[in-house]
């Protein structure tokens, strides 16, 4: 499985990504004295990752398919620039087995797991089978693909309604159908299959029991190429909207130390079952009675990895690079601890008050929060125009506190100090989440946002004074602007050729004669 010799030194890395994650990877490279190469689309010439990198090369037009997903072009740049390795970030090519294979064939280290592990975990039916064989609990359901209504009904009789019909190649909510009634099985099966075919080119679907009021809890795992695997504890990711994570925290307020230890051991077992190395995430779904099941594995660095870094105290990107160099994990399971509490809020360019419609555009001004326990991973700056082609994630705000309560109040403080003008962002919505009694209590599940939408969308009204303060500031600002303009005009009209002549002489000196 592993073609590499141990202990290759990585001196130069191409980051096959954009936005905040490209910069985050380059930061670790810089600390390790590794040169970084950025690639960018024509829409991203002014993007911060291009400016942050040591080298940067254009790889094609704005649409991702012609740039950030163009494997051959990226590998061509990697070869031309003489990099030792490619870091795929998350999204784009990060979970593409073919790309990982192409890198290896070109003699470039792919900073991630083996192509075999990516392919195996990417196919949900195969992943389920492998997990069952390894003794990891999976959601009750099928182990083979379902094609006929009879097969589907037989399973439904076994596991009971409601069920989820899911695409084997799936992800992101596509090719997924929830079935409550037996008579709906046939049409749901047909729709899931046709959706799966058009989205992934593969109509394989399977059936799982639908877990009511589920918690989404995932475990960060890390393996080296020598066969050692550890877990770096969990992340609670139940604050979601349309299968998109919004807020993550660790430790999870929903599990006991005993369950944590159990789930962690299963996560390690799951990773070992596929000979996994590098960073990976085992996602579990947990019901209200603390029954948990393997859901899927993400074979890459996650968006929300910083909260793990914060409580465990380990730079996960550096660790990825060291593992890719063939080094052994520098610690064992019993050397790892969770210290304090971390929360991440994802800041999206979207308008929560207009049904979360995307809001790209030009950033007029940005002031980022500062102070103890605050980390800001972003990529936009004043004057930057967010392209319409890519993901709406503009930054991640990560806070740490000694306790969960301190982390929540710190996050609230940080969100209040975080101002982005020019576009609409989800910041006020996130602030409201931090104020929600349900979130503060901690026993929330993936229905949290839809169940609390009226609260989350309401804005607290201010007394008249703060409105009046804003009005007065704007008015005086406006008056000063007017004055500056009229002074400017007055100066211009008052000028005479003789005055101008005198000015030129005084600036340039007498030698114009």
């Amino acid at each position: 499985m592993n073609l590499k010799l141990p202990n290759v030194m990585i001196h130069k890395v191409l980051v096959a990504n954009r936005g905040e994650i490209a910069i985050r990877v380059m930061r670790s490279c810089r600390e390790m004295n590794i040169r970084s190469v950025a690639v960018f689309s024509e829409a991203d010439r002014k993007s911060l990752h291009v400016r942050y990198a040591d080298e940067a090369y254009c790889i094609g037009p704005a649409p991702s398919a012609e740039s950030y997903l163009n494997m051959d072009k990226i590998i061509e740049v990697a070869l031309e620039t003489g990099v030792d390795a490619i870091h795929p970030g998350y999204g784009f090519l990060s979970e593409n087995a073919e790309f990982a294979r192409k890198c290896i064939e070109a003699g470039i280290i792919f900073i991630g797991p083996s192509p075999e592990a990516i392919a195996l975990m990417g196919d949900k039916i195969t992943a389920r089978k492998t997990m069952i064989a390894a003794g990891v609990p999976v959601v009750p359901g099928t182990t083979n693909k379902i094609t006929t209504e009879d097969e589907a009904l037989k399973i439904v009789d076994e596991i009971g309604l409601p069920v989820m019909i899911k695409a084997s190649a799936g992800g992101g909510g596509k090719g997924m159908r929830l079935v409550h009634q037996k008579e709906d099985v046939k049409s749901a099966l047909g729709m899931a299959r046709s959706e799966a075919l058009s989205a992934f080119g593969d109509d394989s679907v399977y059936i799982e029991k639908y877990i009511e009021s589920p918690h989404h809890i995932e475990f960060q795992i890390f393996g080296d190429q020598l066969g050692n695997v550890v877990h770096l504890f969990e992340r609670e990711c139940s604050v979601q909207r349309r299968h998109q994570k919004v807020v993550e925290e660790t430790p999870s307020p929903n599990i006991t130390p005993e369950i944590r230890a159990e789930m962690g051991a299963y996560a390690v077992r799951a990773a070992k079952a596929v000979g996994y190395y590098g960073a990976g995430t085992i996602e579990f779904i947990m019901d209200d009675e603390s029954h948990y099941y393997f859901l899927e594995m993400n074979t890459r660095l996650q968006v929300e990895h910083p909260i793990t870094e914060r409580v465990v105290g380990i730079d996960l990107v550096k660790l990825q690079i060291k593992i890719a160099e063939g080094l052994a994990l520098p610690f064992q399971q019993d050397g790892l601890r969770q210290f304090g509490h971390a929360i991440e809020c994802r800041i999206y360019a979207e308008d929560p008050y207009q049904n979360f419609i995307p809001s790209p555009g030009k950033i007029l001004h940005i002031s980022e929060p500062l102070g103890l326990g605050i980390r800001h991973d972003g990529y936009v700056y004043s004057g930057y125009e967010i392209p319409i082609e890519y993901d709406p994630l503009i930054s991640k705000l990560i806070v740490w506190g000694q306790s969960r309560q301190e982390a929540i109040t710190r996050m609230r403080r940080a969100l209040l100090a975080y101002k982005i003008t020019g576009i609409t962002t989800s910041i006020p919505f996130l602030k409201r989440i931090m104020e929600s009694p349900v979130f503060i209590k901690g026993n929330y599940n993936t229905h949290f946002i839809e169940n609390n939408l009226p609260f989350l969308l309401s804005t607290d009204s201010c007394d008249e004074i703060c409105e009046d303060v804003a009005i007065m500031a704007a008015y005086i600002h406006y008056l000063d602007q007017l004055k500056a303009q009229s002074n400017h005009i007055a100066n211009k009209t008052a000028s005479s050729p003789w005055k101008d002549f005198g000015r030129i002489v005084s600036i340039k000196g007498a030698n114009i004669y």
């Binding site: 995307p358 003008t421 409105e467 303060v469 704007a474 008015y475 008056l479």
Partner: protein, 166 residues
């Protein structure tokens, strides 16, 4: 002077101004403030000993501002004679509730209607994609498509008029 804050219309009068001190009347209330510009567009404002940081950012339109205080953000517009005149002229296109106007920038992926076509409320007229998300724009009322001002593949700006409907 009238100043609009979100939906509130306020009457503002500058009584006096001396250096950093100003006295203003806002809707009948008199305030004396101590206000200095600390960075470009950022003001420190003291009012009866209370300290406010206020950020004033130019808005999309002339004489409109986005004003941020620690807790709140406001859209503020100075309504002078010129603004009143402009608003009256714009009003015709924007006031027609039927017209389809882009609330956000994006790219037109699909247009589902033609000039002269009758449309029903809730009918999808065009699809605009931004940031990997497709948004459907639907007719608000029944009517007839008078003019389609964009074509598939066009990039559109926020507040751009897309389809005129009678």
């Amino acid at each position: 002077m009238e100043i609009k804050l979100n939906d509130r219309m306020a009457n503002v009068e500058l009584v006096s101004r001396q250096g950093r001190f100003a006295t203003l009347i806002v809707d009948g209330k008199t305030y004396t403030i101590d206000m200095v510009e600390t960075e470009k567009g950022i003001y420190s404002l003291l009012l009866n000993g209370l300290s406010y940081n206020v950020e004033v950012v130019e808005g999309q339109e002339a004489k409109s501002f986005k004003v941020n205080t620690y807790l709140y953000s406001y859209d503020i517009q100075i309504i002078d004679a010129e603004a009143k005149y402009r608003n009256r002229n714009n009003a015709s296109v924007f006031a027609n509730e039927k017209n389809i106007i882009a609330p956000m920038p994006g790219k037109v992926v699909k247009i589902l209607v033609q000039d002269g076509q009758a449309v029903e409320p809730g009918q999808t007229l065009l699809i605009i994609s931004a940031m990997k998300m497709d948004s459907e724009y639907k007719a608000k009322t029944s009517g007839t498509v008078k003019h389609i001002l964009v074509k598939e593949g066009d990039k559109v700006d926020s507040k751009q008029v897309l389809i005129l409907i009678d």
